[in-house]
């Protein structure tokens, strides 16, 4: 059981490595991997694809800034945020805007595992947990 899990992880990681071109995810390569799996049907194909999906999603999240905002967020401002983050992480970063009224005011930007909190809602939550 444990070794099967290990094999699944290893194969998913191999597929993931094959999907990278110069350190960046390539849509063509991903399609190629999916075609390969479809054609050869490796053991535990569904589990391998699930693990592969997680790795690809994590990688995509690393180059995408999800900007949550309470009010109106202008595109130039979001472009500026993405530019600053691209400089910080030394890789191209795109942005996706997501309205979130629970923030009350301000922004919350998520890039991969990192969250930059600059909202009233977040500060109130931090205050509530520290009291």
């Amino acid at each position: 059981m444990a070794s099967a899990k290990k094999q699944i992880q290893q194969l998913a990681r191999q597929f993931f490595k094959l999907s990278l071109v110069d350190g960046a995810l390539s849509a063509e390569r991903v399609t190629g991997v999916l075609e390969y799996v479809d054609k050869h049907n490796p053991p535990h194909a569904a589990a391998v694809l699930k693990a592969y999906h997680r790795l690809v999603a994590t990688e995509l999240a690393r180059s995408q800034a999800v900007v949550e905002h309470a009010g109106f967020a202008a595109a130039p401002a979001l472009d500026a945020i993405a530019a600053v983050l691209a400089k910080k992480y030394r890789r191209p970063i795109t942005w996706v805007a997501k309205p979130n009224p629970a923030l009350i005011a301000g922004l919350r930007v998520r890039v991969g595992d990192d969250v930059f909190e600059s909202s009233i809602g977040g500060q109130l939550a931090a205050l509530a947990s520290s009291v």
Binding site: R110, F116, G122, A126, S129
Partner: protein, 508 residues
């Protein structure tokens, strides 16, 4: 004035617009107090992580695609997908004298209902033990108040002495007696105003014990007036294994504060067998490879890094450790017992047979040893009890041999008689430690043969009578023994005169 207000407002605006960076992850699975988390790419080993609802955890397994965390709190509210964030801090506990007299949990939170603890300092739970250069050899005694131990297996400040034995052989009692004795010595020493006096503060760490037992221990310490010099760290059997795993390290951190601040402390780990079991449980759930008896490969390191933190530091204080190990059917060669025996500076082995024979404390002289030896003994004890261990060991051997025949020569008979009397003399009721000066007086009387004419069955009563005689009528002499810590000719003569005075008063 308005410009000042503007300045403050600007500062507030600056602060409130400053983005706070957090590293986050999501719970993939939660089971048996352990969470597997996706993300947390910046997490450090042993870092505290924050779960929803203020629940804390520690990152113990940093794997390629997930992080294994033990949860230190209520897991019932956690679910798959919940966000977890790093704190950037290692697990720390409050330390300082404010904790004295208090009962805290593994994280240093008070659990005695006496209100919050006003601690100003925090120490990390995991710390690297002091190195070679800063250490000093163990040479100052730490009196347990138990005659059999203080005279034959002396413990020094900064030593690690293992207390090992089957269940119900009086292991905890020995440590409680030692804590009570420290409190008694502290009271006398602090009242004397001696600037050289160094009190010993105690930390009792209860791991995996029944709540009722912990309450009983607290009650015993309170009744003896020892709680004010003691800190109790409780991780009872009902606590999750993560808390039971952390508790001894929290206790060590609390003890280190005393050591670092030039004070002496004593720490009792009750017990490390249950600690190893809690660690095994965590390791198995974290899917770490298991070895002998399903313990993980680093179970030796678990205890060595804990016990190495007890030391005597040059120019600072000391931390003495009394770890407890419970054996199964007296098997000293089991995995955890042999590990801890090899780490510590000696062991006190308690035997079930002796306990059942009414010899309490049931210390097995042959199997007990203090590797520090007489370096941690005052000269007076060496003078009156230096040969006791050998005599008692000889007695045990002869007693076993004498069972096969009745024709014994006079010398053997005398040795047996004397041995039987020493055994009786070392019987001591629980929670009743004897001060070192009284021990010296009793052992002096034994050495000079004052107990030889007394019936063996009456030795305990005779020792009690002698103790009472000295404490009520020879206080000045006892004080002199305590301060001089050695018997010169004059002191010996006065001691002999006092015992001569006592002898007719005991109607043996």
């Amino acid at each position: 004035m308005s410009s000042v207000l503007e300045q403050i407002e600007q500062q507030i605006a600056k602060l409130s617009s400053k983005a706070v960076k957090k590293n986050t992850g999501n719970i993939r699975t939660v089971a048996d107090g352990v969470a597997k988390i996706d993300g947390l790419s910046d997490v450090m080993y042993n870092e505290m992580v924050q779960f929803p609802g203020g629940v804390l955890g520690i990152a113990l397994n940093l794997e390629e695609d997930e992080v294994g965390c033990v949860i230190l709190g209520d897991v019932s509210q956690l679910k798959e997908g919940d966000e977890v964030q790093t704190t950037g801090r290692l697990l720390s506990v409050p330390v300082g004298k404010q904790l004295l007299g208090r009962v805290v949990d593994a994280l240093g939170n008070p659990v005695d209902g006496k209100g919050p603890i006003a601690a100003t300092e925090y120490y990390p739970v995991e710390r690297i033990a002091p190195g070679i250069i800063v250490r000093k050899s163990v040479s100052q005694p730490l009196f347990t108040g138990i005659m059999a131990i203080d005279s034959m297996i002396p413990i020094g400040r900064g030593q690690r002495e293992l207390i090992i034995g089957d269940r119900g052989t009086g292991k905890t009692t020995i440590t409680i007696d030692t804590i009570i004795n420290q409190a008694k010595i502290n009271k006398v020493g602090l009242a004397s105003g001696d600037p050289k006096f160094r009190p010993v503060y105690s930390i009792y760490v209860a791991v995996g014990q029944k709540q009722s037992n912990i309450v009983r221990t607290i009650g015993a310490l309170e009744a003896a007036g020892a709680l004010e010099y003691t800190i109790i760290v409780a991780a009872p059997a009902a606590d999750n294994p993560a808390n039971q795993y952390i508790a001894p390290f929290s206790g060590a951190a609390i003890g280190e504060w005393f050591m670092e601040n030039g004070l002496d402390a004593l720490i009792v780990y009750d017990d490390l067998s249950k600690h190893a079991v809690a660690y095994r449980q965590i390791s198995l759930i974290l899917k770490r490879p298991s070895g002998r008896e399903a313990y993980p490969g680093d179970v030796f390191y678990l205890h060595s890094r804990l016990l190495e933190r007890s030391a005597r530091l040059d120019g600072k204080g000391s931390l003495t450790a009394l770890p407890i190990i419970e054996t199964q059917a007296g098997d000293l060669s089991a995995y955890i017992p042999t590990n801890v025996i090899s780490i510590t500076d000696g062991q006190i082995f308690l035997e079930t047979d002796l306990f059942n024979q009414g010899i309490r404390p049931a210390v097995s002289v042959g199997l007990s040893v203090s590797r520090v030896g007489s370096a941690a003994q005052i000269k007076a004890t060496k003078q009156v009890g230096g040969k006791l261990k050998g005599e008692l060991a000889q007695f045990r051997e002869l007693a076993a041999f004498a069972q096969f025949g009745s024709d014994l020569d006079a010398k053997t008979k005398a040795q047996l008689e004397r041995g039987a009397r020493i055994v009786e003399l070392f019987k001591q009721p629980q929670f009743n430690p004897i001060s070192i000066e009284v021990q010296v007086a009793i052992l002096f009387a034994m050495q000079k043969g004052y107990f030889d004419a007394i019936d063996t069955k009456k030795i305990v009563a005779a020792a009690g009578s002698l103790k009472e005689f000295f404490t009520t009528r020879k206080d000045a002499l006892l004080t002199e023994i305590r301060t001089k810590a050695a018997l010169d000719k004059d002191l010996e003569a006065r001691l002999q005169a006092a015992v001569d005075e006592w002898k007719p008063t005991f109607a043996g």
